[in-house]
């Protein structure tokens, strides 16, 4: 494969004696949208956290852009996190700052942008995601969908090469899921590389370039969404899809 942006090779990770990732491989190409599906506890979130260096792996390597090894014990994790954005299920906005300050903090302190430059960029992103009027509000005045879009903007403001979305709609009221997924759709159209763990199968079918079914700590089956959803090859994939797609 040409131009691999993220290469996960043989990654193992256990919490105490409980194995979560068991020699998982995954290559993600530049501009590719990869969606991870699988049961809760299958290792999707753990994989995303490992790619961002929030969890350290027990074995294996995760290489960014062919040169930066996240799993190297001497790696500069701050430098890696500058290039890999992550958005969490529970938004994790900073409650003591306005939305604008939430977004400007890292570009100013980490990238050394000026107040004005950071604010201009943030306002541009906020308008793009329909949040311009919320810039001066504190996070507790936002709905769940607005909070999650603000969290996406906060991660985007660092101009990451790849974004990780960790079940970003799971905490939302069903009525608000759509606005957040539309934001991701918009990013996909702009060519952003991302890896997303989700239970939104319709969305995965619609937006993913590739769907990966994570089962027992490895990628059990993967392929274009039309193959994985319409013609799954493995029994476990079929069982999982039968459970989640049954209305």
């Amino acid at each position: 494969m040409t131009d691999v942006l993220v290469r996960v090779s043989q990654v193992w990770k256990a919490f105490d004696a409980h194995p979560v990732l068991r020699g998982l491989d995954l290559d993600v190409a530049r501009h590719e949208a990869v969606v991870l599906i699988g049961a809760s506890g299958s290792g999707k979130s753990t994989l995303l956290r490992c790619i961002n260096g929030l969890e350290s792996v027990d074995a294996g390597t995760i290489v960014l852009d062919g040169d930066l090894d996240v799993t190297d014990l001497d790696a500069d994790l701050d430098q890696i996190r500058r290039r890999v954005g992550i958005v969490f299920q529970s938004y994790n906005l900073f409650p003591h700052m306005t939305v604008l300050d939430n977004i400007c903090l890292a570009p100013r302190k980490v990238l050394g942008r000026s107040h004005q430059a950071a604010a201009d960029q943030a306002m541009g992103l906020l308008s793009r995601f329909g949040l311009a009027e919320k810039a001066r509000e504190y996070p507790d005045r936002l709905s769940g969908g607005q909070s999650q879009r603000a969290a996406i903007v906060r991660a985007l403001a660092m101009e990451p090469e790849v974004m990780l979305f960790d079940e970003i709609t799971s905490a939302l009221d069903p009525l608000l899921v759509g606005e957040v997924l539309d934001a991701v759709r918009d990013l996909k159209a702009g060519g952003l590389t991302f890896i997303m763990a989700t239970h939104e199968m319709e969305f995965a079918r619609d937006v993913a370039d590739r769907v990966c079914f994570v089962h027992q700590g490895v990628i059990h089956e993967q392929g274009p969404p039309e193959h994985v959803f319409s013609d799954p090859q493995r029994d476990e994939t079929r069982q999982f899809l039968a459970r989640v797609l049954r209305p």
């Binding site: 961002n52 929030l54 994790l77 701050d78 430098q79 996190r81 500058r82 954005g85 992550i86 969490f88 529970s90 938004y91 994790n92 906005l93 900073f94 409650p95 003591h96 903090l105 890292a106 302190k109 980490v110 996070p139 507790d140 909070s147 906060r154 991660a155 660092m158 905490a171």
Partner: protein, 291 residues
């Protein structure tokens, strides 16, 4: 005309309370207030009757609640209290700085900082374990006895220093609890954006931690206001020492009561502020939800 006739049409975009219901509730509130007042007055009357009927009351009144003694000692006590206020005003900011530095020192992770962490931990353990009055004795009499060059020999200085060291240990623990009260996901979110550990503390964790501990800190301030009287054991004429002098002059304890009233006059407003902040924080947390 029944109350229902006044009701807006169903679905009208207004808030509507049944007027009869509102009147009943107002009536009930008024009755509750009256009962409360009557009960309070009855209690005060009965309690003062009981106290004034005790056999020793005339003597107690003479020695503790003597009007002339009160009037005579009050201005001097107020003057002496100014020293307590100054001790408090100097000690408090130093305590906040020391407490914050020690709390931060205890969160340092890098192995190179092990000595700092150890020193901070030992400091907190030791000074939380020693009664404040003992620290005052040890510093106030001990350090000047060393006859070190350039070290002040002043009782107020060492008394204040002892209060700072003793309270610094408590306040350090309050700050540490505040840092612990910030959810780990906040730190994780900050680090995931590429902020360093120091930047995360400075911009994300500490501002939230300090907000969370303002009520307990105010509580410690109130306690410190009173403990400035402990410096009396070293000899400087602050309010307690002045009251002692006045009391032994006439063998009358009224100056102590006067001193107590002066302390109360200062602490009650602060107690009310602390209560108010505490309830506001609780309300906010309940309203806040997840963030």
């Amino acid at each position: 005309m029944s109350a229902d006739a006044l009701a807006p049409a169903p679905g009208a975009p207004v808030a509507y309370v049944d007027p009869a219901r509102r009147a009943r509730l107002r009536q009930r509130g008024l009755r509750n207030a009256l009962v409360g007042m009557a009960s309070l007055v009855a209690f005060v009357v009965v309690a003062s009757l009981l106290v004034s009927r005790t056999p020793g009351w005339p003597v107690v009144q003479q020695t503790f609640f003597n009007r002339e003694e009160f009037v005579a000692s009050f201005p001097g006590l107020l003057d002496a209290f100014w020293l307590n206020v100054r001790i408090f005003l100097i000690a408090e900011p130093l305590i906040l700085i020391l407490g914050l530095l020690v709390a931060l020192a205890r969160t340092l992770q890098a192995p190179i900082f092990l000595p700092i962490r150890v020193v901070a931990t030992v400091y907190v353990d030791v000074f939380r374990g020693i009664p404040t009055i003992l620290v005052i004795f040890l510093l106030g009499f001990g350090v000047p006895a060393l006859r070190l060059q350039g070290v002040p020999n002043n009782a107020v200085f060492w008394g204040t220093a002892a209060l700072v060291l003793s309270y610094g240990a408590y306040v350090a623990e309050v700050f540490r609890a505040g840092i612990g009260s910030v959810h780990p996901s906040q730190r994780m979110a900050a680090r995931s954006l590429g902020l360093s550990s120091v930047q995360t503390n400075r911009h994300v964790v500490l501002p939230q931690a300090v907000r969370n501990v303002v009520p307990p800190l105010l509580n410690d301030f109130i306690s410190l206001q009173k403990d400035t009287a402990l410096v009396a054991v070293l000899g400087p004429i602050e309010i307690l020492r002045q009251a002692q002098i006045d009391a032994s002059f006439n063998f009358n304890y009224t100056p102590y009561v006067a001193a107590a009233l002066i302390f109360i006059a200062l602490t009650i407003p602060m107690t009310r502020v602390a209560d108010w902040l505490q309830s506001r924080t609780l309300r906010r947390r309940r309203a806040g939800g997840m963030a």
